[in-house]
Amino acid sequence: MARTGLGRQAALLVLADGRLPAGGYAHSGGLEPAVAARRVTDMAELEAFLVGRAETAGVIAAAFAAAACARALRDDLSQMPELEAELDARIPSPELRKVSRDLGRQLRRAMSSIHPHPHFADLGPAPHQPIVMGVAAAALGLDAQDAALAILHENNSGAAAAAAKLMPVDPFDVHAILARMAERLDRLAGRAAALAGGPPADLPSPGAPLADIAAEHHRRRDVRLFAS
């Protein structure tokens, strides 16, 4: 895949921007059920939630985005089905698998119009979000580390933004958490990029038991602000 088009850093900002019209705003990244279960009640617990999420679901998403990006940059999509299956195996909750695939379809739908590339059409009917993010990053001329960082940031800032609607918080305090986490996200993205070229089976799989349990409860609630 030719690395042409938008300038690198600016392209990364485009891809990671919460305003990218791909439907991410409808999700809280599991924060809503965590607040509903009273597991997150203050800023310290919010920060612990976000760090825990980045170190689990974030690490997995980053690894798969980086792996997909590395392959798309080589125009080799042959392992995408294996990446999809490996990612499925890392998400016990069917609800979270569906959310990941819904967000993946939406990201592909958006990017197919924003910055078209033939690879998007080759990803199967409902690709996972990290896979699409990796391919979209490659289409924008970005590398595996950029892809990892984009999805880490998008997932983290999306959950943080949801806090303003779910909790009595000072938005400055919420963004202070994001600022404190910046170095962590860089580090996690670097680690994801280092693994990107290896076999899909070796990609990390840190689980988050409460995230899976809470997601299944959330789907069954009558009233909810966020889809997940």
Binding site: A48, F49, A54, G207
Partner: protein, 277 residues
Amino acid sequence: MYDSLHHRAPAGPVGAMSARAVLASELNGKGRISRIRTLRSDGPLVLRKSNPKGPEPLTRRRHDVARVALAAGTAGPLGGDDYALDVNVGAGSTLVLQEVSAMLILPGQGGAQSKMAINITVEQGATFVWWAEPVIAAHRCNHLHDVRIALAPDARMILREEILLGRHGEAPGDFSSRLRITRGGLALYDQQIAFGPSSDGWDGAAVLGGHRATGSVIAVDPDWVDAPPAAAPFDQNAALTPLAGPGAAIGAVAPDSLELRRLLMRGVTELGPSWAT
């Protein structure tokens, strides 16, 4: 960190133990009764045949299963120890592996890492039941737990894993565990859990939320290819979730081992009659 006087170079610090136990089952000549083919204990990993007392739970109440108990010959593993257990469930046979007591993981000299690698293959038409006791990550331990299970496409399996974050009232050491299950070579379930002073975020609401026990029951049943069990979040701290293949995971967190066991066993009742206890 390493003592220059150690005598067992590859195993790490002084007194560190390296052990590899092997267990295999097969069908007998007439192809009816499962029996033990290999039973090789090694040092602290002691394998003992135990005869079924009656119809065996979780195996459609069969009488003709092979049954083995794993006992710990010593405390540990301790830091530096390197344990391995290889299990082969031969074609068509049914193996039930139970454990005599919890595994207490303790720190070793100089903070060296202990390892436990368990490799299991379940061949075609075979059934594997592994009813493990808790793994307890004691204060200041440093342990890597790695379980790999390769299932034939038509193999059945159920296992229980329980992890306790420290003994009563103590903070856990560094612990990292991976359970990876493949079916016909394709990934079916792959989850790591890591906690302790060197890990971040595990105590937060996305992961363990301050709980001191976590565990799961994983069941794989070829009959579920067409009709997987429905998702069931049956407790605030537990859920049964169908996997992307013919398997189901029951995940739970709890303040202690008793409550964890209660949640997991309640989840098992949601799996349906073929997994009746």
